[in-house]
Amino acid sequence: MSSWVKVAPFEDIPRLGARVVRRTKPDGGFDEIGIFRTEDDRIFAINNQCPHKKGPLSQGIVYGDKIACPLHGWKISLVDGKAEEPDEGEVACFKVKVVEGIVYLDV
């Protein structure tokens, strides 16, 4: 079942950039989701932790529909969360949509 949560105005996500969303979990802890915007204004949301050494992906460089991790340069697809070969690993993807200029995230 979808549960859409309002995140931020779309314009607050920089083009070819990202923002971090901190999500409080039911147990009181939290995790982080990166919201990414491509050059052609598509928007993606994936877990903020690189499968390699947990680098904060949202701090990397966005290009095409990929993100290069800021720590060791792993390249993660924003579309399916998979690491580019020959690296192996993937991160969780989340549904995200923009309605009337506001970004919503399906948590």
């Binding site: 070819l16 050494k53 701090q59 095409g64 340069g73």
Partner: protein, 817 residues
């Protein structure tokens, strides 16, 4: 739209490499059909010798499996020899009746072993050495027969002889010249090689031609070769004769189709034949009158050909300089270029020779017009690829001539036990200290996965992909594993996979076309990707802002995170904060502020850096702006490809030895060049006397005070490779220090490649060039210094700016849900 049809005749390394290159750049352009006359998919022909020597198996050397062809929708016909091309109707026909239509035809029919036209050449047991079948024939023959004769003491012949010996045969090599490998070696090295091979149990008959092959006339082995008769009537027993006297381009098919051939299929620099729909690559072609029998040139051809097949229309093949290496385990031999005996009086070619007969080492370099034009290395080939690189680049060698023979000792970097000779390493030894990759892993990846370039090895094994200090070692391993298959990358390589342009061409284009932002630059230079990648965007951004200061757009999204947020990211995603302390001088007031901030924000670690300032480590991103506000100190740029610190010693103000006020000089430099971006990080140091307490000898610009003024040193580096800075000049006044070091810095900023430290740049252009620009050209020096000052004019302190305009920098806020 219907796809065009590409038919490839020849399922070998050249043809398939072209297909692979084509799939990389235009995966959907063609429907591809491949014909090969062997029953196997594409395999690594240069690894046949290790197969014969029991070091590898056939399965190990398959490069493209049948699944690979299927995955890429390539129709593969094996055991299908094409015997007719109908160019009018654009159809090829195979002997087995198969046919295929084409829009573009690629001929990669390779070469054939040359069989001596002597009596008996058609007897059973007389073979060439070219493919898997020949290799299997040899292995099978060795099981039941005893005597083998190899005709030809070239690379292939010696590898065959070595393999047959390992298979258990008695092997004699017949060679018509005075010494072995006469095309690769001079006489001295040839003799040394012969001695070593004799020690392995091979026999040699030199200065001999073969007159005829004699067969069994009856019995079990009727029509099989029995012996070899030489021109001096000597008869040698032979159950197997391997002819390895050379190869001939296989162009019969092309010729029969009326395509112009002249000892090979004649192609132009785009690998096109006289029929514009037909291309040809590999050993079958004659390019500018030359046919190549080594794999490295084939790959260069493949790249160019694929580019034209993809309709990109750029790239020209202009011929290759080749190097060779003998793939006989335990024998190290490398040669490249022109190494015929030199005669400096008559042809201007000089030679430098090192010969240690007892140690089994022989090295010769042939030099002409201040560049290496050829090299022969025997016994110690560690520097082969280094010499070859200089040969290809035409690098001027006078500055290093004295040490040239002793090799690239600078390979002795940190991280791998000081080991700098790959050949001496065991398989278990670590090559890449960053990623924990052993030599054995690299060798296995090269062999099993068919890797041919440094980039492939980096990608597949991670070796050399982090700090890069072991790339020299990895290159040695690659070169020795591949033998003649290795081609060092040209040093002027493309910026990244998004473009074919190299760094210099990109810079030139930005200057000439006055591109002021990344999208325009990419469009103007026809980038292949819509917005580049994490490699080219930071480089482009730097080139734009350094070429057009105050005009070009500085794009934060094209900077690495550290420069985007003006702090250094740490392994756990926190940041470090290093405020500037000009010249390493601080005050009680600053220290109190730092202490208060550390308390208030519970900073986990406070550390004194190597650059004479204080580092607050473990800061959360959302605290950065508050911390900067409370600190109220300028950014130390400790995260930047830009000016870091100016390290100083105490100097004459307090020190009893000091001859100059190094602290004041350092502060002046740091203030003058504050906020400067550069291709890589940039460090200064100023010492007040030659005791050099500020370690000026390992800085990008190191300044040392002497009684009568200042000495300026450049290109030092304390990092991966410790490089001692070189003396640039001596000046009298403080103003001159700024002008000379500023001009040097600016020329580096304008001309070095992104991520080149000063040492790398100087290594490439030569210190003499730097001296000419900074010392001899006084006007140029002043102008360069002015350009630096202009670029730095009105620079904004980044931390204060973010404190002021907090609302515009949402990046620092975390969204919570």
């Amino acid at each position: 739209m219907q796809k065009m049809k590409l038919v490839v005749v020849g399922n070998g390394m050249a043809g398939m490499r072209t297909v692979e290159e084509l799939l990389k750049i235009a995966p959907d352009l063609y429907e591809i059909t491949v014909f090969g006359d062997e029953p196997y998919p594409n395999y690594n022909r240069i690894m046949l010798s290790p197969v014969l020597a029991n070091e590898q198996t056939i399965d190990d050397i398959i490069l493209n499996t049948r699944e690979w062809y299927a995955e890429h929708n390539i129709t593969l016909h094996t055991s299908a020899r094409i015997n007719k091309i109908d160019r009018k109707n654009r159809v090829v026909y195979a002997e087995d009746g198969t046919s295929a239509e084409y829009d573009r035809l690629l001929l990669a029919t390779g070469s054939k072993p040359f069989m001596l036209p002597i009596p008996g050449k058609d007897l059973n047991g007389v073979i060439g050495y070219r493919d898997i079948k020949d290799t299997n024939d040899m292995i099978e023959t060795a099981k039941i027969h005893k005597h083998a004769v190899v005709i030809g003491g070239g690379l292939l012949g010696l590898e065959a002889a070595n393999g047959l010996k390992i298979q258990g045969m008695e092997v004699t090599v017949v060679h018509k010249n005075d010494w072995l490998l006469e095309r690769q070696l001079d006489k001295t090295a040839g003799r040394m090689l012969q001695k070593n091979l004799e020690a392995k149990g091979l026999n040699f008959l030199l200065n001999k031609n073969t007159a005829q092959l004699i067969g069994h006339e009856d019995g079990e082995f009727k029509n099989r070769v029995k012996s070899v008769q030489l021109d001096d009537s000597l008869i040698v027993a032979a159950d197997l004769v391997v002819m390895a006297v050379g190869i001939r381009p296989n162009f019969l098919l092309a010729e029969s189709a009326g395509i112009y051939c002249n000892r090979g299929i004649v192609v132009n620099d785009t690998m096109q034949t006289y029929d514009p729909r037909v291309y040809a690559v590999g050993e079958c072609v004659a390019h500018r009158g030359i046919s190549y029998g080594l794999v490295a040139p084939l790959f260069e051809m493949a790249k160019v050909c694929a580019n034209h097949l993809a309709n990109f229309g750029i790239g020209q093949y202009k011929g290759s300089v080749t190097s060779t290496k003998l793939k006989v385990t335990g024998i190290d031999l490398f040669s490249a270029g022109d190494f015929a005996p030199a005669d400096v009086m008559n042809d201007g070619r000089e030679e430098i020779v090192l010969h240690d007969a007892v140690g089994g080492i022989y090295k010769k370099l042939v030099i002409k017009n201040d560049t290496i034009i050829g090299s022969v290395l025997y016994g110690d080939t560690a520097d082969g690829s280094w010499y070859f690189q200089m040969l290809r680049d035409g690098k001027a060698i006078h500055e290093i001539r004295d040490n040239l023979m002793f090799g690239q000792d600078s390979l002795g970097n940190t991280g791998h036990l000081g080991q700098d000779k790959a050949a001496l390493m065991t398989n278990e030894m670590e090559v890449c200290g960053c990623n924990g990759v052993c030599k054995g892993t690299i060798v296995k990846a090269i062999q099993d996965q068919g890797l041919f370039t440094i980039d492939d090895v980096k990608k597949q094994t991670k070796a050399g992909s982090s700090c890069g200090s072991c790339v020299g070692l990895v290159e040695q391993i690659l070169a020795s594993t591949l033998g003649g298959g290795y081609a060092p990358p040209s040093s002027a390589k493309a910026v990244c996979g998004c473009t074919d342009l190299n760094h210099e061409e990109v810079r030139e284009s930005i200057r000439k076309n006055k591109y002021l932002n990344i999208p325009d630059a990419m469009k103007g230079m026809t980038w292949r990707t819509p917005n580049g990648c994490a490699t080219c965007r930071p480089a482009l951004n730097y080139y734009l802002i350094s070429t057009w200061p105050h005009e070009a757009v500085d794009d934060p999204q094209s900077r690495f995170i550290n420069e985007r947020v003006h702090a250094n990211i740490q392994k756990d995603g926190t940041y470090s904060v290093v405020p500037r302390m000009y010249g390493g001088v601080t005050t009680p007031d600053q220290l109190r502020k730092i202490a208060d901030v550390a308390d208030k924000y519970a900073v986990p670690m406070v550390k004194v850096t190597g650059g004479q300032r204080i580092d607050l480590l473990g800061v959360k991103k959302e605290d950065l702006v508050d911390i900067w506000k409370d600190l109220d100190m300028p950014s130390g740029y400790a995260y930047a490809k830009g000016i870091r610190t100016v390290k100083t010693c105490v100097g004459s103000e307090f020190c009893r030895f000091g001859t100059q006020d190094s602290t004041a000089m350092g502060i002046r430099i740091e203030k003058a060049f504050d906020h400067m971006w550069s291709p890589h990080k940039f460090k200064f140091a100023v010492s007040g006397c030659p005791r050099n307490c500020a370690e000026s000898g390992i800085k990008d610009v190191g300044i040392i005070g002497v009684d009568s003024g200042w000495e300026i040193y450049v290109g030092g580096n304390g990092g991966i490779k410790t490089e001692v800075a070189q003396f640039l000049c001596k000046v009298k006044t403080d103003d001159e220090v700024l002008e000379y070091s500023g001009a040097f810095t600016q020329i580096y900023r304008e001309e070095a490649r992104y991520l080149d430290r000063t040492v790398h740049w100087i290594e490439r252009v030569g210190l003499e060039y730097v001296k000419q620009r900074v010392l001899e050209d006084a006007e140029g020096r002043k102008a360069a210094y002015e350009r630096l000052l202009y670029a730095l004019q009105g620079a904004v302190e980044p931390w204060g700016e973010r404190v002021q305009k907090r609302a515009e920098h949402k990046e620092f806020e975390t969204i919570t849900i």
